[in-house]
Subunit: 120 residues, 2 copies
């Protein structure tokens, strides 16, 4: 299936919640639902289908259980979709700078690094 909008699929907080639940270890649909008390099993199942359609999760059937797990590689196409922005030299620098700053706190080590395009 020609991956329907990874970005759109990730845009739903509910689906990100699910994705986080199955990121490190697979879980059966019921287990996922147990972790989300405020929504129906049916709704969870629907989100799981959306995630699977986008390639963001894989499903393994075992007995009457269906174990879901995240497919981290599916974020590659997301990066691809953002590529037009990300790929811009200025954009990349700014993004990475901010990312690093947010993660580690202000770091003096980052030089402005040869502005190749147009320094705003």
């Amino acid at each position: 299936m020609l991956q329907p909008a990874v970005l759109a699929t990730l845009a739903s907080p509910r689906r990100r919640e699910i994705l986080r639940l199955v990121w490190r270890e697979e879980r059966p649909a019921g287990g996922i639902h147990d972790a989300m008390p405020d929504v129906t099993f049916g709704a969870v199942s629907q989100h799981l289908r959306a995630l699977a359609d986008a390639g963001l999760v894989a499903c393994r059937a075992e007995g009457r259980r269906r174990y879901y797990r995240a497919r981290p590689a599916a974020l590659g196409p997301l990066a691809g979709e953002l590529e037009r922005f990300w790929d811009d030299a200025l954009g990349r620098l700014k993004v990475q700078a901010e990312l690093h700053a947010a993660r580690r706190g202000p770091r003096p080590g980052r030089r402005p690094a040869t502005p190749r395009r147009r320094p705003q």
Copy 2:
């Protein structure tokens, strides 16, 4: 404004289209609309507001024109929002591998960068 869902804002293809138009150089709202014949000026303006609310564009008024430009740095929070996934060691490796493979073919330059973990 406390940045409403960068991801959700980017999920709209129309808004990505606009963002691309103002990525490298600022444009007046009208200029943006000119590049999008299949939608109303009003609709464009509404999307511009959504983008601005998400911090993805900035606006400069000059005379009766309003010039918009992208704010690449706003993709930082997006990365932050994806951080929980991206930050996972396995995820990062897979994603970056795929990204680099897609963009330039295998390149040895980038080191994996100390994996910080967060408890889920």
